[in-house]
Amino acid sequence: MEIRPILSALLRNKTGPLLVALQVALSLAILANAVYIVNERRAVIARPSGIADEHATFYITARNLNSDGPEQRLATFKREAELLRAVQGVASVANVSQMPLSRSGWNTSILLDQRQQRENASASMYLSSDSLVSTFGLRLVEGRDFLPQELVDLDEKTQDRAPDQVILTKALADKLWPGASAIGKSIYFGRSVEGMSSRVVGVVERLQSQSAPIEEKAEWSVIIPARRYGDTAAMYAIRTEPGQRDRVMKEAESALRKSSATPMILEMRTVDQDRQTRYRSDVALQWMLVTVSLLMLLITCSGIVGMASLWVTQRRKQIGVRRALGARRIDILRYFITENVMITSAGVFGGVALGLALNQLLVSKLEMARLPAGYLVGGALLFWLIGVIAAYGPAWKATSISPATATRSV
C-alpha cells in the first residue's frame, strides 16, 4: 500500500483534505456529545414514578362552593370518596395531598437527630388517610403498610405535629441508613414541625417526588398517614381497572356532581398527562439533538463525497497516467479509498480531542455529565465507516477513467 506517497501528496495540497477532516472532527465531536445527552434523557424520561399502572390512574380535585364548616366538609370528603369507590371499574381510591410528576406539592426536611444543624435530606411529602400503597400500587420491599388505626384525619387549624409512623422510599432509606434496615428507625421532621420522632414502619421500592428533577432526590419521598382538612378542596387519587380509565373519569365526574346540592368545581388530570407535561421539554431537546445529528451526518457525508468527486475530476489526467503506467482498476480504487481513510482518520483523531474538549465545556458551563469513552469510540468507528462508504462512489467513478486520457492533450 502506497501510504507514504499518498500522505506526502496530501500534505502538499492541504486545504481540501483539511476541510474534510475538519468537518469529520466537528461532526464527531458534536455527535458524540449529542447522542450521549439523548441517551441520558431517555433514561431520565423512562424513570418509573412508582405508580404501578400509570395509564389507569388519575386524580380529581373537588371543590364545593358552600359555606360548610371544617367538620361538615370532612364528612363530605368521606362521602365523596365512598361515591368514587362505588363507580364501576374503580379499583382503589385514596385522598392525597399531592401527586407524583404533577409539579405541585410540598417538600420537607428530614433529620436523624432533632438537635443537628443540617438536614439529612429533603423529601417530598405525601399525606393521605387512605392507603397510598394500595391506590398507587406501590411495592413494599420492607415492613408493612399503615394499619387502619394509624390513619388519621387532622384539623389543619391545629398545630402541625409529626406522625407516629411513616413509610419511606428505598432510596431515602438507603440515604439515611446506608446498608441497614430502616424498619423501626426514627426520623424527625424539620424545624417547622413540632413533636416527637416518627418511626419507619415500611419501605416502598419507589415513589417519585412531585417535581421529579434529574437528581437522586427525585426518589426521596415520605408517606404520612394523615389528612389535614379545612380547605374547601380535596384531592382524590383513583386507580381503575386496566383500560377503564376514560370511562371511569366521566362516570366519576357525573357521580360527584349529582351528589352535591351546591355547585362543584372539578378538575381532573391523569398521571399520563402529568408525565407528558413534566418531560415535554426533555423530549423536545431529544428531538432537536437527533435531528441536528442526522443532518450533520448527511452534511459531512456530502462533504466527503463532494470533495472526493472534485479531486477525481481535477486529477483525471493523473489517473489516466497511472493507468497507463500499469495501474489496474482496483489499484485506482484502493488509492482513493486509502487517501480518504487517511483524511477521515485525521478528522477522527481531531474529533475525539474536540469532543472531549466540548464535553469539558458542557460539564463546566452547563452542568452536563461527563462523556463516557464508548461514545467517542463508537463515533470514531462510525465516521471511519462513513469515510470509506462516501468515498466509494467517486473512487469507483475514477476507475472508469480510460488510460488513453494520458495521451490526450487536454
Binding site: V321, R322, G326
Partner: protein, 235 residues
C-alpha cells in the same frame, strides 16, 4: 516485438462513425527505433493508444512480445503495460504533488517490487538520466527538459521491452529537445525498442525507420539504414 495485422479502430458516437485506423499493418522488431509520422487527424494518437494498450481496437490482431492482446481483460492489459511497456508523453505527465523519487516509483509500486528493489531501480533510472541529485525535488522546480528526463526515468525504471513516446520533444526548446533525443538514442543503443510518434520531420530522419500514417493507414514504408554517426546540429 510488436505486430499489428489488419487492425481497425472505429469511434462511434450517436450518429457519427469515425474510422481512426483501417486495415493497419505494422511490424516492429526488437531493438528498432521507429518514428511514426503523419498529419493531424491521421490516427497517430489512436495508433499509439492501441499500441500502448491504452485503448481497445475494433478488429484485427495485435501481438505484443509474443502475447496476443485480443481478448485480454483490463487487469491483464494493465499488467502487460506495467511489465513490458514504458511511456513518455508530450506533456511529461509527472504527478505534481510527488517528488521525483515518488514519481519514478509509481509504476514500480504496481509491479509489486519490495522497497529495496524499488529504491535500487529508481536510483539507477534517475542516474541514467542525470537527475539523481535532485531526487527529493518536485516537478515544478524543474525545467521542461528535466521533467521529460524524469518521465523517461519513470518509463525505464521497470526495464520495459518497448518504449512508447508521444511527441516527447514537442514541449521543449531546441537544446532540451536535442538532449532528450540523445538520451533516447542511448537507450535504444542499449537494447530497448522505441516507438516514437512525432510530426517533426527532422526527428524522423534520425531514426532507423519511419512509418507514415495518412487517414488511418500506413502510407509509406521508408527503410533507412542505421545511421553511423549522428553529428548534432549546432545552432
Amino acid at each position: 516485438m510488436l505486430r499489428m495485422t489488419n487492425l481497425s479502430k472505429v469511434y462511434r458516437t450517436h450518429m457519427i462513425e469515425t474510422h481512426a485506423l483501417r486495415g493497419f499493418e505494422i511490424d516492429v522488431r526488437e531493438g528498432e527505433f521507429v518514428t511514426v509520422t503523419g498529419p493531424s487527424g491521421s490516427g497517430k494518437t489512436s495508433f499509439l493508444n492501441i499500441a500502448g494498450l491504452l485503448e481497445e481496437f475494433t478488429a484485427g490482431d495485435y501481438i505484443l512480445d509474443g502475447v496476443n492482446v485480443k481478448g485480454l481483460d483490463d487487469n491483464a492489459r494493465s499488467r502487460l503495460r506495467n511489465e513490458k511497456l514504458g511511456f513518455i508523453f508530450q506533456g511529461f505527465n509527472l504527478i505534481p504533488d510527488l517528488s521525483l523519487f515518488d514519481n519514478v516509483d509509481v509504476p514500480l509500486r504496481y509491479r509489486g517490487f519490495n522497497a529495496s528493489e524499488r529504491k535500487r531501480r529508481i536510483d539507477d533510472a534517475l542516474t541514467k538520466v542525470g537527475l539523481a541529485s535532485r531526487m527529493k525535488h518536485y516537478p515544478a522546480e524543474l525545467s521542461g527538459g528535466q521533467q521529460q528526463r524524469v518521465a523517461i526515468a519513470r518509463a525505464l525504471a521497470g526495464s520495459p521491452k518497448l518504449l512508447l513516446a508521444d511527441e516527447p520533444t514537442g514541449n521543449l526548446d531546441t537544446q532540451m529537445a536535442r538532449g532528450v533525443m540523445e538520451l533516447l538514442e542511448e537507450i535504444n543503443a542499449a537494447g530497448t525498442t522505441i516507438l516514437m510518434v512525432t510530426h517533426d520531420p527532422e526527428l524522423a530522419v534520425r531514426t532507423t525507420r519511419n512509418v507514415h500514417i495518412i487517414d488511418g493507414q500506413v502510407s509509406d514504408l521508408v527503410r533507412k539504414t542505421p545511421s553511423l554517426a549522428q553529428t548534432p546540429v549546432t545552432a
